[in-house]
Subunit: 199 residues, 2 copies
């Protein structure tokens, strides 16, 4: 049977996402990819680099989806879809409710320095994409023009992260729906005074 790169990375992603970096032992990986240690080390230099490859793909996928949201006819509706999708995944994909990057942060200093960078880049990129979404929503009159873009993007991203963490340990679908609804009420409601830039 021939080796399939895409499939191997998919399997690795699934494992890392479920168990985290540290808890996914090389023996688990060997089993998941149905490959022997030598083969794995021939293709990926180490467990660390394998994980990095996984995260790189995760980031790219994430970025693409968020740009789509920003370019949608109704960014707010698209955003709602984007947010709800991972929260309501079926039981067998529950592990995907939690963000892989967020899950990785506590393990950050177990990773090689390059790998750490890739993880942090993913977060930075996400933040930038959320800014795009908000700008686009303002542009299309779905959000008030005086929305404080940068702060609101931080806020929005944090809300999303919090929601995913909540959903990953909480089954109550009604509760999740409540929180999402609340998020969109608050998104369009008042913002705190932002400090003047110079003083």
């Amino acid at each position: 049977m021939k080796y399939n790169h895409t499939e191997a990375i998919e399997k690795a992603t699934q494992l890392f996402w479920q168990k985290g970096f540290q808890a996914s032992g090389m023996r688990d990986i060997q089993h998941a990819l149905d490959m022997r240690p030598g083969s794995i080390y021939a293709r990926f230099k180490s467990k660390d680099v394998l994980f990095q490859t996984v995260v790189e793909q995760y980031n790219e996928c994430n970025r693409r989806k968020l740009v789509e949201v920003a370019n949608a006819v109704s960014p707010i509706n698209a955003l709602r879809e984007f947010i709800i999708t991972p929260l309501t995944g079926s039981e067998d994909k529950r592990y995907a409710r939690q963000c892989l990057l967020v899950k990785t942060i506590p393990e950050l200093d177990l990773l090689g320095i390059n790998c750490q960078q890739v993880v942090m880049e993913g977060i930075t990129t996400s933040r930038e994409c959320f800014i795009l979404v908000i700008e686009s929503a303002i542009d299309k009159n779905e959000l008030p023009a005086n929305t404080p873009v940068s702060n609101a993007a931080d806020w929005l991203m944090n809300q999303f992260i919090g929601l995913r963490a909540y959903a990953s340990i909480n089954d109550d679908d009604m509760g999740i729906k409540f929180m999402v609804d609340k998020l969109f009420i608050d998104l369009t409601s008042a913002w705190p005074e932002t400090q003047a830039l110079s003083e």
Copy 2:
């Protein structure tokens, strides 16, 4: 030098809070407590039970603080204080910005079943205390009477968790202040329609 139980647990708390359960090796613990393995195992049955003891104390401390907030003259003001305190800890106590329980959740199944239970109890208790706080605030006319207590408590707790996670990887004090202000605006603003109980 005589053994000091309180101090030992304090040191252990600090270590676990900084590095997490798994990453705190027995050798780290030995060094932090300045005790040899045999002594540690004589007092605490295992690393697991030591961690459990730490979490039990953490939970009790947390509960006490939240009950104080509920019983304060102005629960909302007390709540603001309660929320801001861990977010603005000095640089050398940055580790305490993240909630110990939240930090532990990803490692939950490395723990013994009793220890797992103690961690989950901590979260449940927190939730119950947040309900008390909201009820008290309604009672004292600081929140509208139609606030959906249970859902709002879930929401509030999740906001707090999210904020602590944000503050633990983000230095920007102005950004943190912005988020806290936003939280209190949203706390007193509109809530989504809650589904009827029977249908």
